[in-house]
Symmetry: C2
């Protein structure tokens, strides 16, 4: 047996139970508290991050190229970190060689290595928070939670699915005995060995480098696939730290650390296509834009491809018993990380005739104005605004916000956070448009909301759901007091593959997707091909090699 497996057995068993129960559970505490993580943890994380800046990142893996690295914090400074590089041929070869041995490591030991790594990553959550914050632009709190414990939960969830799927294959020889009437039976001994696909490529994104990659990375490793981690060139550090810890755990446990290697690059010299087109890559995970997602999918060539891309997430407003709750909740959803979450809403549909609320009838303009007012309120204070909005990861997002404002009636202009002098910031723009306009149909990544006037509630549901089917969506939200409308929307969005949240007027935001409970992305519309996580996310990462030997009668 495996010592690491035994050490973490309890948490694994619980995780396997929870992926079927799908209630609330989290393995890693989300509160960045000294009582949980140690009184010096926050300072240690900050110091650890500072110590990494302006120098080569120490990562002992195959090298045959010049160091790269052009990361810049959206909080106003260059990281100055460089990473070792090697040619794709070299890295793939190293991963392949390590993978051959890794494939033969017993399932329990592989799972043990994954769980030990997740535990160590949890211990480095404050370091990770600084790394994620200063690459993605997330606020510290979000960077800690989404970059640390929530990402670790997603990793554990994937390990649980992988273990559960592999445990369904008999681990010891099976005797197959076929009766032959009056004659002796045919007796055959069969052994079934889990065989991974080979070398996986995990392509990370710039906004949630760990949360969006850990499911794939740990699913790959648990099922025996070596993995090349290709971070977004502007968010390398969080995955470099991850790869470093993984390689340490692998080495300590006596395995070839090249089971996981980092493929870093710079924006001007991207290397992803070299890997995508290589025959040496056997399965692919991708998180990022729909445009590059299409490129990735077009290079599948029969290989499994798991993507999380993007979409146009709708909010359908047909009535509420808490107008203040509605506007406040939507405003928070639009503001959180400046609309840079793949789960953030974009298009808010309101019937032309207006809606009934606890505060009287509200026209589309009233709804837009209410959301704008709520935005002003929650973003009025500099520190609070920064804690909610964080910074804008990519300068191109600011251009997009400015462009979008020209395509309708500007209800609320996007502005930098007042008094902020270093971070790149933008509050949400609210733009009123008509259903016939085209602008709201396309994804406008960033802090941009369109309030779309539609004929009536049924048309709002129909239009929103058909747009989901056509353009994709990762979330959908509905406000309604009529149960029949809720059923109608549940059907329409279910068919279109967007998880639906109904009447969010309190703390829960449509943006939030919890491991062990929420299925993130359905794969049923263009927003992605895979779910984080479900059985389909792991089942195709391995197959079974059988050996049959007849037993003499």
């Amino acid at each position: 047996m495996s010592a690491l497996f035994d050490k973490h057995r309890e948490i694994l068993d619980r995780a396997v139970t929870e992926i079927r129960a799908r209630g609330y559970w989290s393995a890693y505490p989300e509160v960045p508290s000294g009582r949980v993580y140690g009184e010096t943890a926050k300072d240690d994380g900050e110091k650890g991050f500072q110590a990494l800046l302006n120098r080569p990142f120490e990562l002992d893996q195959p090298v045959d190229g010049a160091p790269v690295g052009k990361e810049a914090s959206p909080y106003g400074f260059d990281l100055g970190i460089t990473y070792p590089t090697a040619s794709p041929t070299r890295l793939i070869e190293a991963a392949k060689t390590a993978g051959h041995a890794w494939a033969r490591v017993p399932v329990e030991e592989r799972v043990g290595v994954c769980l030990e790594t997740l535990a160590r990553l949890n211990g480095e959550s404050f370091l990770m928070a600084n790394a994620v914050m200063n690459t993605t632009g997330q606020s510290f709190m979000m960077a800690f939670q989404a970059g640390g414990p929530h990402a670790q939960d997603r990793g554990l969830e994937a390990v649980a699915y992988a273990y559960d799927a592999m445990a369904a294959i008999p681990g010891v020889a099976v005797r197959w005995e076929k009766p032959q009437g009056k004659n002796p039976p045919i007796v055959v001994d069969k052994t079934f060995r889990i065989m991974p696909r080979g070398v996986g490529l995990v392509i990370g994104c710039a906004t949630f480098p760990t949360w969006n990659s850990y499911s794939a990375l740990f699913a790959n490793l648990a099922t025996g696939n070596a993995t090349i981690v290709k971070p977004h060139p502007m968010a390398i550090l969080p995955l470099a730290i991850t790869v470093k810890i993984l390689r340490q755990v692998l080495s300590e446990a006596g395995h070839d650390p090249n089971v996981v290697v980092l493929a870093a690059d710079e924006p001007d010299h991207p290397v992803t296509m070299d890997y995508l087109t290589s025959e040496g890559i056997d399965l692919i995970d991708f998180t990022g834009s729909a445009a590059f997602g299409a490129v990735v999918r077009s290079h599948a060539r029969g290989r499994p491809v798991f993507t999380e891309e993007a979409g146009v997430n709708p909010v359908v407003v047909t009535g509420t018993d808490s107008f203040r709750g509605l506007t406040g909740n939507v405003a928070m959803s639009l503001s959180l990380y400046s609309g840079q979450m793949c789960t953030a809403p974009q298009s808010i549909f309101v019937p032309a005739e207006g809606i009934e609320t606890d505060d009287g009838r509200k026209s589309p303009d009233d709804v837009a104005a209410g959301i704008a007012k709520a935005l002003d309120k929650i973003l009025g204070d500099h520190d609070r605004a920064m804690a909610i909005l964080g910074a804008v990861q990519n300068p191109a997002t600011l251009t997009r916000v400015a462009e979008a404002a020209k395509h309708g009636r500007l209800v609320r202009a996007s502005t930098p956070v007042e008094g902020e002098t270093v971070a790149r910031t933008a509050t949400p723009a609210v733009i009123a448009v008509d259903a016939a306009d085209e602008v709201w149909r396309e994804e406008c990544f960033g802090p941009i909301a369109f309030v779309v006037t539609v004929k009536d509630a049924h048309e709002a549901i129909r239009l929103a759901a058909s747009t989901v089917a056509e353009k994709g969506a990762i979330t959908a939200s509905l406000y309604a007091t009529d149960e029949a409308l809720i059923d109608e929307a549940a059907d329409a969005f279910g068919r279109a593959g967007a998880p639906l949240s109904v009447n969010l007027t309190g703390q829960l935001l449509v943006n939030q997707s919890a491991a062990f409970s929420d299925y993130h992305v359905t794969g049923l519309n263009p927003s992605g091909t895979a779910t984080l996580a479900d059985a389909a996310f792991v089942a195709n990462r391995f197959s079974v090699a059988t050996v049959r030997r007849p037993v003499a009668a």
Copy 2:
């Protein structure tokens, strides 16, 4: 609950147990016996088949085109059956509409419909045997077993996987309750609905129209996908009978029968590309040639594609304690259905120095001669030869056999079965070649075996396994008395994704793949992307639609 589900609950529960146990089990008796199937069953099946000939096949489904049908029995007569047709647009629309309702039918009821259909198909196994025999050219016994009960077992196996996968999703609302320290928890009720992908396309083959399609067909139906069944134009009848029975069960149970529709065509006017390129198809299953498999895969566009294609199945001979058993078993494997099984061996590797056997040292020539002799023996009698070989499905196979014989030293010529006057027959050709020759590396579909001289046993394993990785293989076979060589081969073929059978000298043939025990095709080499059946075969045919509703504190 569902009456059909209750009726078949016991067999389902057993099947779900067996897919994890993977010992011997079969739900449907494989013996074509009157005591099992009824004393008149054989005659009834024959008469039922005769009554279908030379007239339109009665199938009440959408029609807007002219009937088609050009099937010809390899046993020497035209079937003269025509099938109704409709444009792809019409059939897809009908399936889509039916599918929307089918997606809402409870899982248990869908599974019940599948199980009832399999039970009725079992009752029609003699009719099916005649239909399969006279389209594929299989012998009556094989047509009965592979076309009937074994195919039904594969269907049941897929239903069991589908049910097991769907049962892992909570069927009732789940309360998610997240603690908030001293504040009240956030409480959300979540419902999870199984959502199928939509409309599936199942493309059948000419050799095993039911066995190779039932896994996909029943996996689709159980998971809620409407399905367009596109048979090979020369093997429509078996799937037309299947579709007819399915539609009857659906109608009787109150469902729209267009959940399953037949898309028949003729060789000169193929319609498959119209479906493959349609936006209305959401997932694709294909069995057939590697050449068309590549076309299918190239049209994936992010849709799940499950293929079983073809390969070059190796036999590695390094030694045996039963030379007579070896040659007899290999000869039977080559002869069964005239080498037209996707599991049939093609390339037989023998070390140049010869092998140790119970009958003394045998050179490659001795091995080839031994196999030839065994072939002559088992095929010497007309009736026995016909029972083993059956007929050749496609005339092009005869040309291929003649061509292959020119590419090496002919040890045994392929001939028609002596005395056979109506069926298209061909006994296996045995051709001696060198490892350096190219001819044995490509699939030569049909009764063709190459005995390949290689340097030594290690080189035989290496060469065979590398060819599997490059060209694909669905089976591999090894003869060895040295356990170290067996381990070496298990590793090499495992990595290349070919299930390995060791020292088959008795009744079990490498060709045979049993439902509930053998994983047919691994998806790890070019012979196909999917396994019949495993969790991966069903998991991606559906996703989960979530509805989240906060519960007031």
